[in-house]
């Protein structure tokens, strides 16, 4: 009997054992031969490690080197070792401001995103409403539009003659969101929310419904049950969502250019300007490294604080 003529039943889209691609015997033999060895992990991670090494670590290392080079005004640079680029950065009030603004906007965007996303994720996971699953599509729909297009959309909405302004003027309010920090935070949050909602959802989905019922049964009302049981148990998701949101905001470019600049200076547009307009690559490289270092430092401190605060609960993270 030929395997190919076997009618497909049940979950037909799953790969079936007798339908494995040609050569799977050799693959299996390869796995059998190496799976017990100590290097097996590296073998599995190998393709990814290779990719990261060639396309991330080596270029990053090169940029790190460049950040110590001396800039020659004609758009070239001189190999060597100088700290002048870093000194220049910290001597410039403009750049320092941009860094501080970037950190502040990142923190508030993260807070705003997670606070707004949690109820959405909670609703999608726990609601009995039959269309709640369809909300997932709605949440990720903005991702289908590129960042630049979306930022331009916000630009049009928030501008002095945009829809938001016109709406507010009905109530006699004269307030323009464009080029303000709240405006930038709202625009950035729209980029972050799909990520945050998906991460929070996956964390809420793993919650055991009976544990929440047990809390109700023991007399905890909705608020008590949420703050003593649901929220603590979903903290891994909250932490994941904050980390992703924060790191993404630190490097925001398109939204920062359209909505924030120049009144709300973010660091990424400056790096772009310095590297491609001024053609000062060593300074751009140094700025990139300062951004990277600040991001890593804040993430590190945050995870340490979270670990201590949660105490043993942190084990579940």
């Amino acid at each position: 009997m030929s395997n190919d003529s076997t009618p497909t039943t049940g979950s037909g889209w799953l790969p079936r054992l007798n339908r494995l691609p040609v050569g799977h015997e050799r693959l299996r033999a390869f796995i059998q031969k190496h799976k017990g060895e100590s290097y097996a992990g590296y073998l599995l991670a190998g393709p990814y490690l290779l990719y990261m090494t060639l396309l991330f670590f080596i270029p990053i290392g090169y940029i790190f080197l460049v950040s110590f080079f001396h800039n020659v005004p004609t758009g070239t640079m001189e190999a060597g070792f100088t700290l002048e680029n870093y000194v220049k950065f910290f001597q410039s009030g403009l750049y320092r401001d941009a860094l501080i603004t970037t950190v502040r906007v990142s923190i508030f965007s993260t807070l705003f995103t997670v606070i707004v996303s949690y109820p959405i994720a909670y609703f999608i996971v726990f609601s009995d409403w039959r269309y709640s699953q369809a909300l997932i599509l709605l949440v990720i729909a903005p991702m289908l539009v590129g960042n630049v297009v979306r930022a331009f959309g916000w630009f049009a909405l928030m501008g002095s003659s945009g829809a938001i302004n016109q709406f507010l003027s009905v109530f006699g309010i004269d307030y323009t969101l464009l080029n303000t920090e709240p405006g930038l935070i709202i625009a950035i949050s729209s980029v972050l929310m799909p990520f945050a909602v998906l991460i929070l959802m996956s964390s809420l989905y793993t919650l055991d419904g009976e544990i929440i019922e047990a809390a109700y049964n023991l007399g905890g009302n909705q608020l008590q049950t949420f703050f003593y049981v649901t929220l603590p148990l979903s903290l891994p998701g909250v932490i994941g969502a904050t980390l992703i949101s924060f790191v993404l905001t630190m490097g925001t470019f398109a939204t920062a250019v359209f909505i924030g600049m120049p009144q709300v200076p973010m660091i990424a547009p400056f790096i772009y300007n310095v590297s491609s307009t001024d053609l000062n690559w060593p300074l751009g490289a140094a700025m990139s490294f300062i951004l990277l270092a600040v991001s890593l430092l804040i993430v590190y401190v945050y995870t340490k604080v979270v670990d201590v605060e949660l105490g043993r609960g942190g084990d579940a993270v």
Binding site: D208, E210, I211, E213, A214, A215, Y216, N217, L218, G219, G220, N221, Q224, T225, Y228, V229, P232, L233, R312, G313, A316
Partner: protein, 382 residues
């Protein structure tokens, strides 16, 4: 229909009803999970909801706890109508199949949770938590986390957590089904001990008939969202209301026949399998059967005596047949005996004086006039 009578514990009318369910129905979209049930549970009673999976027993329990809102009908706890009361305002304690302990809290904090929600003071909470731990024999484990405990220990914590709030009724949803056999029997005794010592009303959901028979004061047998019978384990086993109950509890031989005469409290029934049997009307049926009525007779396998086919048997009734299958189980031997077009399940205790039989042996089965039970037909229902 006589079902409502059995909804009240016999001879317990003076006791207070802790839980009362009236005309309770639960529909999920187009599925009726629980269909118009009535049930009253007395103070201090241990009542089991028994039935196959999907019979509505867990849904019934969840409506008592308040996790499901009935589509129709009323739930009363301690005389108060709580049909739409949220679970946190109901005086119930619940023990879940998967324990449902709070993984981010210590054992002591788990048990203290309900007391804290009630606003009990710190000192009293500490004391009651310690007592509760002692009660379930977990003294000294209060600082552990649930994941550091065995399944049996976790279930004890779940019991302590539900009992420490002193609920009107303790609801248990298949609490032992995740434990291995030995632990299950140990916990069964533990739950009965707590029931005895605390005198707390318990409603226990299980699909395990052995648990229901050994633990219950009364049991409610459910199927397809309906309660088929409520009664003591003995009543349900010996006097099942219908064929489903007879078949679900224990092993049953159900033989169809027709009543041919009714004389002096004795019914003569002509079995479709070919024999005539005489049964005591008092013992054998709960309703007055008339001559000409089609009936179903229940024979419990252990109520037969097995004799060689050619023996002269001194019994009220005899049926002859051929042994088709023998299963040796140590303390007893199971025979499957062919009688006409029926196969009878017969259990013989493995006594030293008993004669045992092999496949193809001709045997005579003897039984007393009061041992079969005549199952009433369920009038008008499918």
């Amino acid at each position: 229909m006589s079902r409502s009578e059995t909804g009240t514990p016999d001879g317990e009318q003076q006791r207070e009803m802790v839980v009362e369910l009236a005309d309770l129905t639960k529909r999920f979209r187009d599925v009726t999970a629980v269909n118009d049930i009535d049930l009253s549970i007395a103070d201090g009673e241990f009542l089991t909801l028994l039935g196959p999976s999907g019979c509505g027993k867990t849904t019934t329990l969840r409506m008592i706890a308040g996790f499901e809102t009935p589509s129709e009908g009323v739930v009363r706890i301690d005389g108060d109508t709580v049909t739409k009361t949220p679970p946190y305002n109901r005086d119930t304690g619940m023990v879940f199949q998967q324990y449902a302990l709070f993984p981010h809290m210590t054992v002591a904090d788990n048990i203290a949770f309900g007391l804290e929600m009630d606003g009990v003071g710190d000192e009293e909470t500490t004391e009651r938590v310690r007592d509760a731990l002692e009660m379930v024999r977990l003294g000294g484990l209060g600082d552990r986390y649930p994941e550091e405990l065995s399944g049996g220990q976790q279930q004890r914590v779940a019991l302590a957590r539900a009992l420490v709030i002193e609920p009107s009724v303790l609801l248990l949803d298949e609490p032992l089904s995740n434990l291995d056999k030995k632990l299950r029997e140990e916990m069964r005794l533990e739950i009965l001990r707590l029931h005895r010592e605390l005198d707390v009303t318990m409603v226990y959901v299980t699909h395990n008939q052995e648990e229901a028979l050994t633990m219950s004061d009364r049991m409610a047998v459910m199927n397809h969202g309906e309660i088929h019978q409520v009664g003591t384990p003995r009543e349900v086993y010996h006097r099942p209301q219908d064929a489903f109950v007879a078949d679900f509890i224990g092993n049953a031989n159900l033989l169809n026949g027709e009543v041919t005469s009714r004389v002096d409290g004795q019914l003569t029934i002509s079995l479709d399998a070919g024999s005539d049997v005489v049964v005591d009307e008092d013992a054998a049926t709960s309703h007055a059967a008339e001559a000409g009525e089609a009936v179903t007779l229940l024979f419990r396998p252990e109520r037969f005596r097995v004799y060689p086919g050619d023996a002269t048997v001194d019994a009220d009734n005899t049926i002859s047949g051929t042994v088709e299958e023998v299963t040796f189980l140590g303390s007893r031997i199971d025979y499957f005996v062919r009688v006409g077009d029926q196969r009878l399940h017969v259990v013989q205790q493995n006594l030293e004086e008993g004669e045992t039989f092999e496949e193809t042996d001709e045997v005579t089965l003897g039984f007393r006039a009061d041992s079969p039970f005549l199952i009433p037909e369920r009038g008008g229902e499918s």
